[in-house]
Assembly symmetry: C2
Homo-oligomer: 216 residues x 2
DNA sequence: ATAATGACATGACGTACGTCATAGAAGGAT
DNA sequence: ATCCTTCTATGACGTACGTCATGTCATTAT
């Protein structure tokens, strides 16, 4: 596990000794597809790193609608926010597929923040990235579903490459729309040759066409 | 100015000496209503504190639509984010009314972060609050305009009390909708006695009725 | 093999809400 | 007063998209 963390932000710049101490207190947990890792409002006892699989950070709206704010892939760290301010988790975390997650007790994380300025700096940058991402999403309300989907697909292709392994339902939750509308729009895009759609995955064939939806 | 800052987060816990040094490098600037304080993408040279007036953090969408992500009132600090990670401002800042803003060079801010752990901690908390707020907004896409407006009004009443000094257009930008729809919904709420609407301000008469829109 | 489940797909229908047009009030400037 | 600007208000109209209903494939389970 120390090996794994040593290649990931914000743990890259830890010393050998620090990494060993971290590995000693961290624990790996397995989650099945659909399992809830934690819920919004729970006191935050751990900072998490995806080891394997895929974790969605999401909110469940009053109407039962699910809204995914962030998709975390292997190597990504999530929920350092509660570790920084001591308040509860702001979102639910759900394993979108069978996943392994490394859980680091907030106390250990906090100690590293205090003792290692480089680690603090890297953690903050990670955190700032997160805020910038969320801020981008927050003004999507005014966009059409087509644009929201295009944005979501482009964002995902940065993590997964051209082939995005999410179901249409999951894409819908990211774009804050329904599965039906998502499918309708994606099948249009298929006909235009912009993407290819298959069960459980979507392949971007012409990213520039997707970007074109965003500019004008 | 030192006086003023000494009562505001995250500057409360600075020492007398630190505050004096800060006051020496900080500068007060006046902005007229409608002036842009900075634009998204600009390199961030200052952390700002509202001394007087009202500043809106906003994004301008491709269609020319304005979306307000945050309303800053006297005593509130904005854009410490770029000071933390060194990247550009993520949003535009616009004076919504004639305003005075205290500008603190990022270098000075950064130095305080490094030297004063309590200041770092308070800044982080402030920052985390911000992320939590934005995260709340990011899933509003699925809400009806009525709910988005109710949320916005309740949020604003925490800053301004029952009487909210924003124009209908400004409320619309917060709720990511149009001025027309905002007016239509607000005049319904007026008829139901939930609010009272006047030129440039809206008074909440029955906050509990507004909250009622959010739960079910 | 058959059933059961989940992902994908498509049609029909209604409505919330954006757009456009128009106009009345309330202030501000001259 | 008169003009001008800004804010508020209301009607008419179209459409994007949510909802419901139904059906077809793939997968997995029995």
């Amino acid at each position: 596990m120390g090996q794994f963390l040593s290649r990931m932000e914000p743990f890259r710049r830890l010393s050998q000794a620090e990494r060993l101490r971290l590995a000693a207190v961290a624990r790996e947990k397995r989650y099945d597809k659909g399992d809830t890792i934690f819920r919004a409002g729970q006191p935050a006892d751990a900072v998490c790193v995806v080891r394997e699989g895929r974790v969605h950070l999401m909110k469940f709206l009053e109407g039962g609608q699910a809204s995914t704010t962030c998709v975390m892939t292997p190597g990504e760290t999530f929920c350092c926010l509660p570790a920084l301010d001591g308040k509860p988790y702001p979102v639910d975390a759900v394993a979108a597929v069978d996943s392994t997650v490394i859980c680091i007790p907030t106390s250990a994380f906090h100690e590293l923040l205090r003792k290692n300025p480089a680690f603090l700096q890297d953690s903050l940058c990670l955190f700032c990235d997160r805020l910038r991402q969320v801020e981008d999403k927050s003004c999507m309300t005014y966009d059409s579903v087509e644009r929201r989907l295009a944005k979501s697909l482009l964002m995902l292709s940065k993590k997964f490459g051209p082939t995005i392994p999410l179901t249409k339902q999951e894409l819908a939750e990211l774009a804050n729309t329904t599965q039906e509308t998502t499918i309708r729009i994606l099948s249009q895009l298929s006909k235009q040759g912009v993407i290819r759609s298959a069960r459980g995955k979507t392949t971007i064939l012409r990213p520039e066409k997707l970007s074109a939806f965003l500019d004008p």
